[in-house]
Each structure stands twice: as C-alpha cells, then as structure tokens.
Amino acid sequence: MAPLIHVRDLTRDYRLIKKREGVAGGFVDLLRPRYRDLRAVDSVCFDIEAGEMVGYIGANGAGKSTTIKMLTGILTPTSGKVSVGGLVPWRDRLQYTRHIGVVFGQRTQLWWDLAVIESFRLLRKIYEVPENIYAEQMKVFDDLLGVGEFLHQPVRKLSLGQRMRCDLAAALLHRPRILFLDEPTIGLDVVAKESVRGFLREIRDLQGVTVILTTHDLGDIEQLCRRVIIIDKGEVHFDGELEDLRTRLGRRVRLTVDLREAVTADDLRKVTADLPVTWRDREGKNHVAEFRRAEVSGAEVIRQVVNDCQVSDLHLAEVDIEEIVRDIYRAAGKEKA
C-alpha cells in the first residue's frame, strides 16, 4: 500500500524585490524591479503513513509554514510533487480540503463576529456532517477541551487559549483523515498546552487521524510524536524516530565544575587526557565538559577532576532533546555558511 502522504523534491521560491539605493533608485525599482528568489523549501522528500503523528520542526524561517501551506493546497510549489491519498492539494483543492483539518496557531478559521456555536453549525453544513456524528464530535470536544463553556460567546471575545481550543475542534468536526497543525500551542500557558496535547493524543487514538505538527515547543514533540522531521533553511536534516535522534547523537552528558582557582580549559584537558571528554574553551573558575555515557562513566570523569583540581561544586546533567535539536540547527547553519 502506498503511503498516505507522498512528498518528492518539494521546492518553493519566494520572489523578493531587490531594492536599489536612493530616491532615483526607488523610481527605477518602480519601473524595472529586480528580483531575487529566496528558496524557502528546498527539495523536501518524505512519506507519511496513515495514522502517523509526525513532528515537523526547525528554527524560525526554516520553511515549516511554507511546507504546510503547500500540503494544505494554499500555496503552489515552484517544483516538486505532492500526492495525498491520490489527490494533489493545490490542484484538487475543493475535493481535497474536504478530507483535511487545518489549524494555523496564528490565525483563526472561525467566523470572527459569530458565536462559536454558529461557526460550528456552518462548518457542519460546509462538510455535510451527519447529525449523529456532529453530536458525538461536539461531546468529545466538550469532554476533552471544555468548549461547551464558551459556545455562545462571539469568537472575538475569546481568550487565546479558548480560541485555540475552538479552532482545534473546528478543524476536527468533520473527522478529517489528515490534520495539519502549524504551531497549535503558540502562546498557550502550561495548563492549556497540556489540555491541547491530551486532546490530540485522545483524538489520535480514538479517530486514527494522521497528524503533521510544527512547533517550537519540543515538549509537544516528546509527548505526541514518535517521528520527527527536522528542517533547516528549507532542507530536511533529519527524518526518523525521536528515540533515534537521541541515540544517534549518543546520550550526551554535561558536567559543570566550579573551581576554587581560575584555570584554562587546556589545564583541564590535561587532567582528563586519557578520557573521551571535550572541554569547552573557557577561562576562569567555571568550566563545562561533555561526554557520552556509552564511552565513559560520569563517576570516572568526576574522580579524575576532583583528584587533580580544587573543586568547589559539581553538576551533572543529561543533554536534553531541545539542545540536541539546537545543535542540529546550528550545524546546519555552519554547513551553509
């Protein structure tokens, strides 16, 4: 069986006007603008099976939203191929949008001046949701998201968290096969984030929807997605299981030491010369070392440091997923530079 979502060499350029200098230049720009193409998404390939929940992450401006816009049929790519369940999103837009749900965290799809319930009624008509399914869905939304509380308020009077919960419900009312979420937890407090995550987990288990989600909060990814795709400057840098991401980079550990006297990093490098440890280039009393748990134990590193130096304090911590991802972003940045 073919994958539900099939993306090959997806590329999108944005055309930017290159400004000339000065007032005269401004006039020339008006008459004969010069363009420069910015490649926002660059030959992206991936396949997603029905029922998967995939995290699509990357730094600001990496090209996440642009990808989502192409997958939802809003934007036409410069080149490349997308097929979702046999449809091409931007070509078969009317057919295709019937089967998807979309949330852009920064915008709302609800009718601003209407009471929330009116939006839902309208969506019911738009997607031709049968009465019994409508009732079931509304019950699920009320149980899991508590949307019942503000059904009769106009959308413009909702708080950000309330609006986001309504938007999620609106995107799922017609039981779409695929759900696209672009930063669904942006601007939410801890409690609201938890409620959104819990809801998405339930919906995935209950209704088997396929989800692609972008976020800057890796907590979302850790709690929801087994698979992540990391994109930077439009290119895919990692595509695999979250667990692989951790082990591929090794479970890294970071040791922070406070010394009584100032030393250089080189002094410490000599101290641990026979161990696979990297010290950051620093001078002074505070130093940081990193090593892989698989290669050397924390106890051994600490023993050597304590033996040879005047240590006042020690701190050992595992490098978390957030930092691993940050390193990938940074490495990608250097490659390009």
């Binding site: 049929g73 046999g86 949008t97 920064q106 799809q109 001046d113 009624r121 738009i126």
Partner: protein, 294 residues
C-alpha cells in the same frame, strides 16, 4: 459475501466526494442568513446612513432646481436638460441613490484585505468557492440594506420631493429585478477589482479610484444623457450601465416592450459573464498567490 468497497477502506486513498445541488444551495443560503444577522447585530452603526443618503439626495435636488431655473424653455414649454424634465431628473437621481443604498457592498476592499493580510489562507482550506460565499454575503448585506436604508429612505424622500412613480405598476417588479441583477454585476466587478491585490503591492489607490469612477460610469451621479456623445457610446459597451442607468431608466418608463426585455437580458448576460470571469480570474490568481506572513 461481498467485500466492502475497497475505495472506502483503503487507508492510502481519499474518498471522492461531492455536494448535491440542494446541499449547495442550503450552504450558500446559510451565508446569506449569517451575513444578514451579522449586519443586524451591528445595526447601530448604520442609523446615520439614512440621514446621509437623504442629505445627499437633497443636495442634488437643489443643484438641479437651480440649473433648471436658469435654463431656457424648449418647444414644449418646459425646461429639459439631457432630455429630462426637472421632476424626471430629480426622480432619476433619487431612485439611483435609493438603488445604490441597496446594491452597495465592499467586496473589493474585503477581498484585497484578505489577500494582503494572508487571511485568505483560512478561506482556501475550506471546501467552498470563496467567490460564491462572498456573493451570498453580499446578498445578505443587501437584504439588511433594503430594510435599514432603502425602505426608510424611500419613505422620507418620496413625499419630500414629490417623486414620480410610474403609473404602470408592472414597472415596479421589473425595477426590483433589475436592481437585483445590478447587485450581482456590482459584486462580481468588485470581486474582480479585489483580485488585483494578488498582483499589486499597494491597492488602496486603485480601490479609491474605482469607487469614484464607478459612480460616474454607472450613471448614478449624473445621467448619461448629460455626457458627450463618445462617452455615451463607450458606456454602452461596459457592464456599469447595468448597475444604475438601466434600472433607473426602467423605473422612469424610458424602456418599454422589447427594449425592456433587451435591457434586462443585457444585465443577465453581464451578471453571468462577470461571474464566470471572476471565477476564472480567482482560480488563476490563487495558483500564484503569495501567502503573506505566518
């Protein structure tokens, strides 16, 4: 035992789908209704509308009265300007503006704002035609305007300026039908202008220019007969006469028999032609849409 249809169960396929005619009508009818309710909710903002329309029409009344007083009487003894007597002229202007209070809408501004602010993305993810949705909303708005502007203005203006209604009562429904077609032409033209936002960086100037030129080209501001001949020939070939000039001249009884059907037929043709053109232009423009921000 028969297998369930493979189409429905295959996890890697999206099931084809379509909306029946009745469901489609029902859907767009809800947009008409909701738009009407939305305007009703904001009705306080529009109370002044009746007053400004009345002042506007009164202004015209006094200008034309002065013009006619200074004119020389024709062979029939009455002063005519552009083939209209003073009472006809006043009726022309008043009915034109009463009609405008009905068909007016802001689709061009709404659509261009949606495009510029990227809000259009939220419309493109829905399985409907934005163009038809906006037309339905315009119809809802006009229902509101009919109730809130058109009827009250008529009640105030008619006795105030002793307007001449046609004695042939069949002309009233024809005029109404003609103004309904005007609504379609006006909204589809506005939709097309709104589509320019896909291509232009700054559309504000275009919007303002078209607002002003529309009032000339539709004939609502000044009757075509007052313009030079070449202008009258040009407007014959434009859709705008179907927005005000045709319905008003129908009301004045200037078109009877086959001329009446011809005029209505012309409006129909423009309404359908512009609707199709707007659909094609929108479809083409969306393909090259530069979704802003986000």
């Amino acid at each position: 035992m028969s297998e369930p249809t493979t189409e429905a169960v295959r996890a890697d396929r999206l099931v084809p789908w379509g909306r029946s005619w009745t469901a489609t009508l029902g859907l767009y009818a809800s947009f008409v209704r909701l738009s009407f309710l939305k305007f009703l909710a904001y009705r306080l903002r529009y109370y002044t509308g009746v007053i400004s329309y009345t002042i506007f029409i009164s202004g015209h009344y006094y200008i034309y009265s002065a013009l006619f007083r200074s004119g020389t009487p024709g062979p029939g003894g009455a002063v005519t300007i552009g083939g209209l007597t003073l009472p006809e002229m006043v009726t022309y202007v008043a009915v034109g503006w009463i009609g405008r209070s009905f068909y007016f809408n802001n689709i061009s501004r709404q659509l261009s704002r949606m495009v510029v602010e990227g809000e259009i993305a939220m419309q493109l993810i829905k399985p409907f035609h934005l163009q038809t949705v906006m037309l339905s909303e315009a119809v809802g708005e006009s229902c509101f305007r009919l109730m809130m502007f058109t009827l009250p203005i008529t009640v105030v203006i008619v006795p105030l300026f002793h307007l001449l209604g046609p004695t042939d009562f069949a002309l009233y429904p024809w005029t109404f039908l003609s103004f309904c077609l005007a609504l379609v032409i006006y909204s589809q033209w506005n939709f097309l202008i709104g589509c320019l936002a896909f291509y232009l960086k700054n559309i504000q100037g275009v919007l303002r220019a078209q607002m002003v030129s529309m009032d000339f080209l539709t004939g609502v501001l000044i009757p075509f007969t007052l313009f030079p001949h070449w202008f009258q020939v040009v407007v014959q070939w434009l859709p705008f006469q179907g927005i005000s000039y045709i319905p008003v001249t129908i009301f004045l009884g200037k078109r009877t028999g086959p001329e009446l059907y011809q005029a209505i037929g012309l409006q129909f043709a423009w309404a359908i032609g512009l609707f199709i053109l707007a659909r094609l232009v929108f479809k083409f423009s969306v393909r090259r849409v530069i979704a802003q921000g986000g």
